[in-house]
């Protein structure tokens, strides 16, 4: 028999600290696999966020920075400007990227920074205990939206991929999900493309990944996958919003 699937060298041996069924682990693995398959682990420099994936620097088998909340794209800018020949990426959640870090992500895209951003959208603040995020859905309960998110009070959930796709410097923007094996394979393709765009020097690439938070959603991991499919996917449609060809 031949091995068709094994742990990628893009990840360290450290076991993930994530809750059972949290799909951060799937996304970490995809990024690690892509870095390995592209042969860029030795020249990759990643930036970890603040949030559940704050310890991402322990998991990726490449040089890493830990950034302040929301600032990963600015930190990545500093790194990439020093090392234009290296592969620089940020890994950020929705509190980090879509709330406190909106200025940094918008302007990294706006400058066309040749970096790749992995944006994990699970519609909630996980690390701090299930508070409302800009991406929290209408009616969705959170510890700071105990009656469910009300559009009149908190606005409508922010669609990051669509927003960033309006920026010229963002040459690759795609939204994927990690709810099924088929979608996970598609997610990996998108992540690979977002790194290839950087390697080709074309500009900023981002993949928004719909992810689960069973713990703070108060669901089992399998229920959480279904909740993502039933609630997140209709509001956050999967698909490509921008390719380098369109960006021309």
């Amino acid at each position: 028999m031949t091995v068709v699937f094994q742990r990628t060298s893009g990840l360290t041996e450290k076991p993930f600290h994530y809750c059972p069924g949290c799909t951060h682990g799937v996304i970490h693995r995809l990024v690690g696999e892509v870095l390995e398959e592209l042969g860029v682990l030795g020249k990759a420099i990643g930036v970890a966020p603040v949030g559940c994936s704050v310890l991402a620097y322990d998991y990726f088998n490449c040089d890493m920075h830990e950034a302040a909340h929301g600032r990963a794209p600015a930190v990545a800018t500093g790194i990439k400007r020093v090392h234009p020949d290296k592969v620089v990426f940020t890994y950020q959640g929705d509190g980090d990227l879509a709330s406190i870090g909106t200025a940094e992500i918008v302007h990294a895209a706006h400058r066309g920074e040749k970096i790749t951003t992995i944006f994990v959208n699970n519609a909630i603040y996980g690390m701090t205990g299930g508070q409302m995020a800009p991406t929290t859905l209408i009616g969705q309960k959170a510890t700071t939206a105990p009656y469910g998110r009300d559009a009149n009070h908190a606005g409508m959930p922010l669609r990051v991929a669509e927003m960033l796709a309006t920026i010229t410097g963002a040459v690759f923007v795609e939204r994927v999900a990690v709810d099924t094996p088929a979608n996970i394979r598609k997610a990996k393709k998108a992540i690979k493309k977002a790194f290839e765009v950087q390697l080709e020097g074309k500009g900023f690439g981002i993949v928004e990944i719909l992810s689960t938070c069973p713990t703070n959603w108060g669901l089992t991991p399998t229920e959480a996958i279904k909740w993502l499919q039933d609630n997140m996917m209709p509001y956050y449609p999967l698909g490509n919003f921008r390719t380098p060809e369109e960006a021309k």
Partner: protein, 353 residues
């Protein structure tokens, strides 16, 4: 090299480039704009890179990235902008990265004004950001000193792996003075083998980080940082003692204010009143030991600042209750006059003699 006449902000930029600074991340704010403008013009010529960030917060985090990636990097701003940079400065100190931060300060609080001020003494020396950290702070009084200190600041930052601030009030940034660029004396610096340069598959990943969730580990880190700060206190204190022989009053003053004080000292001398000056060149570490050299003729200390009284706290700590401590200050962009300072000295001495 012959002397050249330059504006302070540009001279600081030229000094940085001469010291090997290749990267600058900044955001416009008065009265320091000529500095980023200069860097945007000159850095590309030396194979460096200038990026105008979307905010001061982003700029300092770009510095954090570039410093971690092993570069000589600088940012500059003015008081409210430096306030915004405190997040990044704390992270840079925590992650032990070298960088130089220039504050061409202005009056506050809040948006304040754009005129010269020294109201950022607390912000600079008390750790404007969170946590147990220290930052070396140079306060030049002349453009020549600003240029020399900026050049040295990069070496000091690399040597200690710590942020270094150069603080000049708006006068330092805006005035023109003749400057001579001398070759800075270089320290022996270890290689930056901690920097994120890509593993090339040849070493374990380098991680730039200030997070330590285990309290015992974080305390250990803080003890290590403190030992480093102790070294800085031991080796890096700079100050000037001026006209101390038989001084009846000793003024403590830094930056451009100290130049006004020297005029007052000259005027008082003509009237037969001997006044000395302790001029801290490093605000942190504060030159506490200078206060042990005060002559026995001294009856009182006078802290003269362009603030409502900030450095006076350190003067009192250094004085340790030995002499009465007085204060004279102007604020909001108002500059003390030699006459007013002389009048304050006479008031302390009990009126004109």
């Amino acid at each position: 090299m012959a002397k050249v006449l330059m504006k302070g902000n540009e001279a600081i930029g030229a000094a940085a480039i001469k010291a090997g600074c290749k990267f600058f991340f900044g955001y416009p704010i008065t009265p320091q704009n000529e500095l980023p403008e200069f860097m945007s013009r000159e850095l590309p010529k030396v194979g460096g890179c200038f990026v105008q960030a979307e905010s001061e917060v982003a700029a300092i985090n770009m510095v954090y990235g570039a410093a971690g990636a092993g570069a000589r990097v600088m940012t500059s701003s003015s008081s409210p902008g430096i306030a915004l940079k405190q997040e990044g400065i704390s992270y840079i100190a925590g992650a032990e990265l070298p960088c130089v931060i220039v504050n061409i300060s202005r009056g506050g609080p809040g948006l304040g004004g754009i005129q010269p001020s020294q109201a950022d003494y607390f912000q600079s020396t008390r750790g404007g950001g969170n946590g147990d950290y220290r930052m070396l702070v140079y306060a030049p009084a002349t453009l020549q000193e600003a240029v020399d200190l900026v050049m040295e600041a990069f070496d000091v930052a690399d040597y200690y792996r710590n942020p270094v601030m150069v603080i000049g009030d708006g006068m330092i940034g805006q005035m023109m003075e003749p400057i001579e660029f001398t070759e800075p004396k270089m320290r022996e610096l270890p290689p930056k083998d901690w920097a994120t340069t890509g593993t090339k598959g040849e070493r374990k990943p380098n991680i730039i980080n200030s997070l330590a969730l285990d309290p015992a580990e974080l305390e250990k880190h803080n003890i290590k940082l403190k030992a480093k700060y102790n070294e800085m206190e031991k080796n890096e204190v700079r100050y000037e003692m001026y006209n101390m022989d038989n001084a009846e009053i000793v003024i403590v003053s830094y930056g451009t204010t100290s130049r006004v004080v020297k005029n007052a000292i000259a005027a008082l001398k003509a009237e037969g009143i001997n006044v000395g000056l302790i001029r801290p060149i490093t605000l942190w570490p504060f030159p506490t030991k200078a206060f042990d050299e005060i002559p026995s003729t001294a009856k009182a200390l006078l802290s003269v600042e362009m603030s409502m009284g900030q450095m006076i706290d350190d003067v009192k700590i250094a004085n340790n209750g030995r002499l009465p401590v007085h204060f004279y200050g102007r604020s909001g962009g108002m500059i003390p006059t030699p006459d007013a300072i002389a009048a304050k000295v006479k008031e302390i001495l009990g009126g004109a003699r």
